[in-house]
């Protein structure tokens, strides 16, 4: 596969502050590539360097193998869909989409044809004569994408374009956008702070934190094998335990909690140096009142503090015995657990391979979600 976009050792400093720190990655032609990170992680700066609005401090950006650092933003074969869309309010829909074509010197029926084709593509045929302020949020969205796509860019950059939409429409647009990308086959580089957007649409996701990539992987791998504490917390939901580690005679590793719990781990760890770790277990990996089976299962007793009913996404809020820490446990809606009430005592268990463990990082980890 041809490489559409290649970024090598890219760094951007604003004074003393390093916004983007030595990042390298390749995006293959036709892929949907997302950069996922909290606000302020440097993802917008990265995107703007690719578009040409920032000059990198060091590093190389190649598009289809050609270094574009010296190419002005208006000459680069990339187009950007802006966060606020930046549709021109002084022009109608047609003129917005035709703007880039006209700048290339295209005229007459050729422009009409391309614009109308593009309008059909984004599902808004016949909208050319409308004014921008007559459009709904989702329609503006599509026009902004059409305006960029009509120029047939090698890479389409999207800067959180769904951010301004309400939740329901955003869900809908995620699917629309993915379908559109598959249909046109253009390489998309999409940045967002919403992990669900990144997961649903992307072929590959890079999780970015304070200027560097924590992990670059498929959505599935990010979810099941997070490479760092940050990724474990930022992608999906997770329960966090502060633990110490120990190794028994037979070479098995255990996580020990201050309350005296001992939980088997599936992997070996390096026990040199400081012995504080963070263990993560996803709510949906937790089993309520597990039955003993062949495989060893970690268990703890807990009190149900509250039932957080949310349809298919319902959960239990539980507190382990002798502890103050709250845990979230997925509550499947298959009537198996209908008897559980607040203040009940239950057992919670998980397979050792469901837990991941990292050395405790000093870094302040982003909290939102």
């Amino acid at each position: 596969m041809q490489i559409a976009l290649s970024v090598k050792n890219l760094t951007k400093k604003f004074g003393d502050f390093t916004a983007v720190n030595n990042i390298s990655f390749d995006v293959e032609d036709g892929k949907f590539f997302s950069i996922l990170g909290p606000s302020g992680c440097g993802k917008t700066t990265l995107l703007r360097m690719i578009a040409g609005f920032h000059k990198p401090t060091s590093g190389i950006i190649e598009i289809r193998g050609e270094n574009v650092l010296e190419v002005e933003p208006n000459k680069r074969p990339v187009n950007l869909v802006f966060q606020n869309l930046a549709l021109f309010p002084m022009m109608n829909v047609f003129e917005n989409i035709a703007f880039g074509l006209r700048r290339r010197g295209e005229k007459g029926p050729e422009v009409d044809k391309k614009v109308n084709l593009m309008l059909e593509r984004v599902g808004l045929p016949g909208y050319g004569g409308k004014q921008v302020n007559q459009l709904s949020g989702g329609q503006k969205q599509r026009i902004a994408i059409a305006r960029a796509l009509v120029l047939d860019p090698t890479v389409l950059l999207l800067d959180e374009p769904l951010g301004a939409l309400d939740a329901k429409l955003r869900e809908h647009m995620k699917v629309e956008l993915k379908k559109l990308q598959v249909e046109v086959g253009t390489t998309f580089v999409y940045i967002t702070h919403d992990q669900s957007e990144a997961m649903v649409m992307s072929d590959y996701v890079a999780v970015m934190n304070s200027g560097h990539f924590e992990q670059l992987d498929t959505p599935q791998n990010l979810y099941s094998n997070p490479a760092s504490s940050f990724v474990a917390q930022f992608v999906g939901n997770n329960n966090k335990f502060l633990v110490g580690l120990k190794k028994d005679e037979s070479g098995n590793f255990y996580a020990t909690t201050p309350e005296g719990g001992e939980f088997l781990l599936s992997e070996p760890f390096d026990l040199e140096g400081q012995n504080t770790f963070e263990m993560y277990v996803r709510p949906e990996a937790m089993i309520i009142n597990p039955k003993a089976g062949k495989e060893k299962i970690n268990e703890l007793n807990a009190d149900v503090k509250a039932i957080l009913f949310d349809g298919g996404n319902s959960r239990l809020l539980v507190v382990p015995e002798n502890s103050k820490q709250e845990l979230i446990v997925a509550l499947p809606q298959n009537h198996q657990f209908d008897h559980i009430k607040a203040k009940d005592k239950i057992r919670v268990g998980w397979y050792p391979k469901s837990a991941v463990c990292f050395k405790k990082s000093e870094e302040k980890i982003y909290e939102e979600l």
Partner: protein, 286 residues
């Protein structure tokens, strides 16, 4: 108190009366001036001696209407010439100043910004005399040292234009700045990203966005120039502008031809003002 809150009848009535008196106060001098333009009398006062259009079209010998009044016509023409120049210059420089203060960063920007605002708090009379003194000094300097006679530096057309320009540009700058402030600069980036060059971005995006405010500023500048008195008073030469010429006639007493001029001016400025307001509102929504 306000629309949604209950009020006593007496309070509402008293308030209405106050507003009515206010509007009578506001309009009675203008209306009476306009009405007396049609009075068939040699003096701009009552009694009403019948309707006439002589103060507009009269050819003399007693009643010379405005359209045959050479002195006033000449001053109107002078005022238009001044106003056109002031309006064009101050809109041009005002647009540049708006870009300078809204989009550029430079040393002493604050100082320049204050200087730009200063004409708002300098009485027009002071502006007039200081520009008179300065141009006179410069003119003398050129004449003494270089032997040039800098005609445009002595009281007359150009001095009036400079004097009015000096403070009207502050107004145009503020009018255009106010809109430029609201301009979303990502629109420029978007145009740039879509392949436009700097000139095209300016022409198709930024200036197009600013156009309503530029047109508005030009209209305001025209009107302000047309009616300026205080600054002009010290800079005017033998070509008198309309307000100066009218002043001399009002001071020394005159025929109702002034009312006819006032009638035309009020009608004209009202049309421009209303068009400006409606035009401005409509554009803002787009």
């Amino acid at each position: 108190m306000i629309r949604t809150l209950p009020n006593s009848k007496a309070y509402t009535a008293a308030y209405r009366l106050f507003i009515a008196v206010f509007f009578i106060f506001l309009f009675s001098p203008l209306l009476i001036t306009m009405i007396l333009a049609f009075n068939n009398s040699m003096f701009p006062s009552l009694p009403w001696k019948g309707f006439t259009l002589d103060w507009f079209f009269g050819r003399g010998p007693d009643k010379i209407g405005i359209f045959h009044d050479d002195s006033n016509l000449r001053s109107i023409f002078t005022s238009i010439r001044v106003a056109v120049a002031v309006s064009a210059l101050s809109t041009l420089v005002g647009t540049m100043a708006a870009f300078l203060f809204e989009q550029e960063d430079f040393k002493f920007k604050q100082v320049f910004y204050f200087l730009m605002l200063a004409p708002l708090v300098i009485p027009g009379v002071i502006l007039g005399i200081s520009i008179l003194l300065f141009t006179n000094a410069v003119g003398l300097f050129f004449e003494d040292k270089l032997g040039f006679d800098m005609k445009f530096l002595s009281p007359g057309y150009w001095l009036v234009v400079f004097g009015q320009f000096s403070f009207i540009t502050t107004i145009t700058t503020m009018t255009i700045s106010a809109r430029l402030k609201k301009f979303d600069r990502t629109l420029e980036e978007a145009a740039y990203n879509l392949g436009a060059n700097k000139f095209e971005v300016l022409r198709f995006i930024t200036l197009k966005y600013l156009r309503p405010s530029i047109v508005g500023a030009a209209a305001i500048a025209f009107l302000m120039s047309f009616e300026n008195f205080n600054t002009t008073l010290f800079l005017v030469g033998s070509d008198q502008t309309l307000p100066i010429n009218l002043y001399l006639q009002v001071r020394d007493g005159s025929t109702p031809v002034i009312n006819a001029i006032a009638f035309l001016l009020i009608t004209f400025t009202s049309i421009v003002a209303v068009a400006n307001l409606y035009g401005g509102n409509k554009k803002d929504q787009a």
